[in-house]
Symmetry: C2
Subunit: 345 residues, 2 copies
């Protein structure tokens, strides 16, 4: 069945993403990546009215969680696959994840990126790729004309490469689940866990860890208002899509959740919600001024979701976890964020 608007999720696929697989991923990547700190901040606790534990993946290698899934996937390639190399498509952080893992593991990588990806992410990807084997390159495309998956699959067929998609792959999802696993290991069980959602890799991996390590924890997925495909999919229980959503959360501009991630979200996530760009801007600035941490707009989605729930009177419990997904932001964007934040509730 084609994976287009209205498609029905296949729940049999969720069996491929078990907590054991997350644990295996953790054992595989340990020592190669940072065990990122869990941080707390009095100003954030005050805002949310709870003890908030922020798992700081902005302090991860490449500045985002994406290196977890990328490393886990690349480490499992066979000899011939390693020889022919890998391809991926990504608006940014997954591109950096694959480029960094490819350079570290000595595997050739081709990365398909939209022309409008943030300059900082293009440059960083180029930097990592320069240390990867010869033949590694970035292929730019115009997001209005080409569908990145189609372009990617075409190159894969031509060059015999292995596709490592940005989220819809059990090894990628299991790798992303290691962040929440580390969070629960460090702070124990939680009342709620807020996770950002683009394609749903981090969210479904996090939910897999939560179900196993903190069964009573309410897992909430958070999207930008303009990119609310997963929230609508969650409500309708079929695939809903969005086209080039206009949001500052560039990491969550993904057009749809995947064949794996959608049934995983439906099975293991308790609730989906959206937040406005103004709320994201306000929280990026709050985290910079009070926590002294640079978190990109997509990275504060979880925190913005918790703040919105509290503002709207939802009960979220006294111990709240948030996955801070990344920190790769163009600093030139800050004046725009300051203007946007003025409209925040």
């Amino acid at each position: 069945m084609e994976w287009t608007d209205g498609a029905t999720p296949d729940f049999a696929l969720t069996r491929e993403v078990t907590f054991d697989r997350v644990r295996d991923a953790a054992a595989r990547i340990v020592g190669r990546l940072h065990r990122t700190p869990v941080m707390t901040c009095a100003a954030i606790d005050e805002l949310i009215g709870a003890q908030v534990f922020l798992k700081c993946e902005n302090l991860q290698r490449i500045g985002a969680f994406k290196i977890r899934g990328a490393t886990n996937a690349l480490m499992q390639l066979g000899d011939e696959q390693r020889e022919r190399g890998v391809l991926t498509f990504s608006s940014g952080n997954h591109a950096q994840g694959i480029a960094h893992a490819a350079a570290t593991l000595g595997i050739k990588a081709v990365i398909v990126m939209p022309r409008n990806a943030p300059e900082i992410k293009l440059n960083a990807t180029r930097g990592y790729l320069s240390r990867a084997p010869e033949g590694s390159e970035i292929v730019l495309f115009d997001p209005d004309e080409a569908k990145r998956e189609e372009l990617g699959r075409q190159i894969v067929e031509e060059r015999g490469m292995t596709l490592v998609p940005p989220y819809d792959h059990p090894d990628v999802i299991a790798g992303q689940g290691t962040a929440a696993m580390e969070l629960f290991e460090e702070v124990g069980e939680l009342d709620s866990l807020y996770v950002c959602c683009g394609g749903g890799g981090l969210l479904s991996g996090s939910a897999t860890s939560a179900r196993a390590m903190s069964p009573g924890c309410t897992v909430v997925g958070v999207e930008p208002e303009a990119g609310d495909d997963a929230t609508r999919s969650f409500a309708d229980k079929v695939l809903r899509t969005v086209r080039n959503p206009d949001t500052i959360a560039d990491g969550a501009r993904t057009p749809y959740t995947g064949r794996y991630t959608l049934p995983l979200i439906l099975e293991r996530v308790d609730r989906m919600m959206t937040v406005s760009d103004a709320e994201l801007a306000r929280l990026v600035l709050l985290c910079m001024s009070r926590m002294k941490l640079v978190i990109e707009p997509s990275g504060v989605l979880g925190l913005a979701g918790a703040a919105r729930d509290v503002r709207e009177g939802r009960e979220i419990g006294g111990r709240v976890g948030v996955i801070v997904s990344g920190g790769n932001m163009d600093l030139a964007q800050i004046p725009e964020l300051m203007r946007l934040a003025e409209g925040a509730p």
Copy 2:
């Protein structure tokens, strides 16, 4: 003897600041303040060509190391002194330190601040003071007209308060020395330690810890070019002063080192140096984009010193410590920093 340009330091005073006193301060403040993380970053290691350990006092309570000395000093007041309250003068971070410690310990505090102090520091000080006992207040002065020490001493006499100066006090210096003490405890001995210098409290405290815990470590104090009084004092071995230096490093606009800090610096610091505002701006932006940490311009003085030494071919060793002093920066300043950084070497 008056403490003015050309004054001779009294080395007998250095005996009041021993490493034992730093250790006592650490025992006193433990649990009340954060044990800040020591962070590393591949991009910084590459820039410096060494393993660089950053002691992140920007992640300290109030966003700066100043809370260490303030807490240590206030905890040692007698009953009558506590009753009458404390006064201090500060361009910002020490003000927040005293305000926070006063609120926590229930002591009345009057804080004399220049009108041109950064808005973020004025607001934060106001916020902490609002939880301190009644009678606590900020007194603003015009830095071009009044000497803050004179104004402060006048209020102290009128109200019978205890003066807790921002740096020139053995308890304050000992408290500041606990940051470097924690750094050495965590990473062991170092080849060099770079510390920013305003009035010299952090620098002389850090040097005291270094002499005791890592005797072979070269301790370097770093000032902004416009506020080079300590560097000239170090060369001339008498007090040199500066007047309202024009620098983005607002935490290091101090006009001179103190009766305690100058002889301590002469006795325990190996070298003094300056860096330009363009270098500071470049490093603030580098730390934000690569380390995902917000560090104020004064806070990167140490790192900028290490970078300059390496650029100029000085041997600084393979294991380098840097005290990152604070992170309280107006984010509206970032576009200005981007312009300034274009002129960096």
